[in-house]
């Protein structure tokens, strides 16, 4: 990854687009809304497209990939260098003909149509969440491919445009993805378009050294995108950028999948539980009657060892 010369500002940006129909749909019929008020999907999309174009403007070598994060599936929407990659000249021409906007919208439509199978009005627990872990994993796979490619390769980074709240069931998967990203030095940026902060993405940005941001006014989304998230990794060394304001390091317990700030951990497999158990549901280890309650003792013992 160090094969690049320092002044290189060519970027490979993978944008994870919040495309959860429940989230956006929830907008229209004001019922239990999770998304920001009066900010529709189309507006959102506009901003993003502007953003994509401006990335292209900045450097013709910039590569952009857009992956939709849906409630029931994830899909590639756009790949700026798909044209060059596909050997077939004809398809290349066709793809060239359409502009970025057309390509994306078109792809997005059939994605949405698939998603829409779920009745939006009675969103189940499941599709209140988007499959962040899925799109993250895909993004990372894609980036690995870039990194494998001929060097010098563009500097990869991931931008999550997240609206829906964190999905505790995805906790482990997301974490795995984060660590993998960290290992291959891929920063994960996060721009929250929903109402809730995302502990997952806070951790992700914190660990991978990306930027975390929740625009107070989503109407001006492009503002933030162009001011903050357009900055390539090289320029980040020189520009003032928003600093992390605290990270939520709470875990989510295995038993009820709810975030906790204090809990019990199995000494064999480190599974987290919100309350004491006899046996570990993950590794079915049988716990010795724990002498836990007396932390002072534990501390004392620790000191003795050290």
């Amino acid at each position: 990854m160090d094969a690049l010369n320092a002044t290189d500002d060519i970027s490979q940006v993978v944008i994870l687009l919040e495309a959860n129909p429940y989230f956006w749909g929830g907008r229209s019929n004001g019922a239990h809304s999770t998304g920001p008020a009066n900010f529709t999907f189309d507006r959102f999309l506009e901003h993003v497209l502007l953003f994509i174009n401006s990335l292209h403007l900045l450097n013709q070598a910039n590569r952009i990939v857009v992956i939709a994060t849906g409630a029931t599936s994830c899909a590639y929407l756009y790949d700026s260098n798909a044209a060059e990659l596909s050997e077939n000249a004809r398809t290349a021409r066709v793809s060239k003909k359409l502009s970025v906007v057309e390509k994306i919208t078109q792809k997005l439509e059939d994605f949405m149509s698939k998603e829409a199978v779920y009745d939006l009005n009675q969103g189940t627990e499941d599709n209140r969440y988007s499959l962040l872990s899925g799109s993250l994993s895909m993004a990372l796979c894609y980036i690995q491919r870039i990194l494998r490619g001929p060097s010098p390769h563009p500097l990869p980074r991931i931008l999550c445009l997240q609206g829906t709240p964190d999905a505790p069931p995805q906790y482990i998967a997301v974490m795995n993805a984060i660590f993998s990203a960290q290992r291959s030095l891929v920063p994960i940026d996060a721009c929250i378009v929903g109402n809730h902060h995302s502990a997952f993405l806070q951790q992700a940005t914190h660990i991978t050294g990306g930027i975390y941001m929740k625009p107070p006014a989503p109407e001006g989304l492009f503002e933030y995108l162009s001011m903050v998230f357009a900055t390539d990794l090289y320029s980040r060394k020189f520009l003032q950028l928003p600093r992390a304001s605290g990270v939520d390091f709470r875990a989510s317990c295995f038993c009820h999948k709810k975030s906790i700030d204090m809990g019990f951990v199995c000494s064999v497999c480190l599974s987290i539980f919100c309350k004491g158990q006899r046996t570990c549901t993950t590794c079915n280890a049988i716990f010795a009657p724990s002498k836990q309650p007396n932390p002072a003792a534990a501390a004392a013992q620790k000191r003795k060892v050290s």
Partner: protein, 411 residues
């Protein structure tokens, strides 16, 4: 894979195998090529043009090796208390490893220490050196990588004899007092070829066995009988390094948590806190240094005290404080991604390929029966039935530990 491959593959592996054999007793400068003896696979066509090698076979082999290395899913001892013993006896001065055996060991240990804490967040590690037949504890069992590395760097000289017995006795002394749920281990990096012990080493070995201490040895020069016995008796691993790189491999093999032996440690529930990280630039009094600190520290969820780094124990209420990422690092051991199966390109119905023309992970084109353009294997996730390319398979199983396909389905 198709039946026809089965016939051929073992052969390939043989060839590959003794290719490496030869690689071993090559001159140093040849070794660079020993790993990939690609030219052997090269073939010329009629016009004397060189043809590319058969990727598919190579990929299959790689997958087989990986599969072999990866055993069935097992309980692992994740909370470990490990002493790393560096033999800095006379023999460590030998320069057959560059810069010297000692140097090589130091480098590996450094890498190991980092990797270790990366993979075993809640574990503790300590350093012991052997010099002049005496074992000395460099660092106490503790959680901070830097301290160990500093201590090691500061202690690089070697002389005198080596004594395994002294080393393991010392280690046993410290390991005996750790909490019951911890897994006790000793990893010895041994340069010497003999051990000058004060007493009968067999007794010490028996003692270790009794104390459930798993002793592993990485030798730098040759197989030594006593080390072999030590490892066999205590359930450790004995390996001998061929080259610097191999040495690193072998040492790092000890980084992932070892399979947990039932009796070696009793499971128990440990109460832990997952503190929040304070915003940058905020000022607070930190409990550990008893002084005002600027910048994001962590706050104990129980007593709201401020600590500077994780993992640690709250100095006020003694609660074990970790950040959930620490724990999460080792979760992939618990929920491994199912191995992908190869779908024979020939047998596949062409119908399906139109759908799955691209790798689900990275959009790379997948090999199809028709086009010979893309060589390689096509793999399928048994759970989500998505198809992947070879590279993604490797990445997914060795680094990512998520199957994109499964992740992007509602469970």
């Amino acid at each position: 894979m198709g039946p026809e491959e089965d016939g051929t593959n073992p052969m390939d592996e043989d060839g590959d195998g003794d290719a490496e054999e030869q690689g071993r007793d090559m001159e140093a400068w040849e070794k660079a090529y020993a790993e990939d003896r690609s030219w052997e696979a090269l073939t010329e066509d009629a016009s004397g043009l060189l043809l590319a090698v058969d990727v598919t076979q190579q990929q299959r082999q790689h997958r087989r090796r990986f599969a072999a290395s990866k055993g069935p899913r097992i309980q692992r001892g994740i909370i470990r208390y490990v002493f790393v013993v560096c033999d800095f006896s006379r023999a460590a001065a030998e320069a057959d490893f560059k810069p010297s055996r000692m140097g090589a060991v130091a480098n590996c240990v450094e890498a190991f220490v980092r990797e270790f804490f990366d993979q075993n967040p809640l574990s503790h590690l300590g350093l012991i050196t052997i010099r002049n037949g005496v074992a000395r504890r460099l660092t106490d069992l503790s959680g901070s990588p830097e301290a160990h590395i500093r201590a090691l760097r500061a202690n690089l000289e070697c002389s005198g004899d080596a004594s395994i017995q002294n080393a393991i006795d010392l280690a046993r002394g410290y390991l005996s007092s750790i909490p019951s749920y911890g897994h006790r281990e000793v990893v010895i990096l041994y340069s010497a070829l003999s051990t000058c012990d004060p007493g009968d080493i067999m007794d010490s070995i028996a003692e270790c066995k009794k104390a459930n201490i798993r002793c592993s040895v990485v030798g730098l020069s040759a197989e030594i009988y006593i080390c072999k016995t030590l490892c066999d008796k205590t359930g450790g691993v004995y390996s001998v390094a061929i080259s610097e790189s191999h040495l690193k491999e072998l040492v790092l093999e000890h980084a992932p948590p070892p399979p947990a032996v039932a009796e070696s440690a009793v499971a128990s529930l440990v109460r832990m806190g997952f503190p929040q990280r304070g915003a940058e630039g905020t000022v607070a009094l930190c409990a550990c240094h008893r002084e005002v600190k600027l910048g994001g520290g962590y706050t104990c969820p129980r007593c709201k005290a401020r600590v500077c780094e994780l993992p640690t124990e709250c100095h006020i209420c003694g609660l074990t404080l970790v950040s959930s990422p620490h724990l999460a690092r080792s979760y992939h051991h618990l929920f491994p991604v199912p191995g992908f199966e190869e779908v024979s390109v020939q047998l596949q119905s062409m119908g399906k390929f139109d759908v799955l023309r691209l790798c689900y992970g990275c959009q790379q084109e997948l090999p199809t029966a028709g086009s010979k353009a893309i060589a390689g294997v096509r793999l399928e996730c048994p759970r989500c039935k998505q198809h992947f390319c070879f590279d993604c398979d490797v990445y997914i199983h060795e680094s990512l530990h998520n199957c994109p396909g499964c992740e992007s389905l509602v469970k």
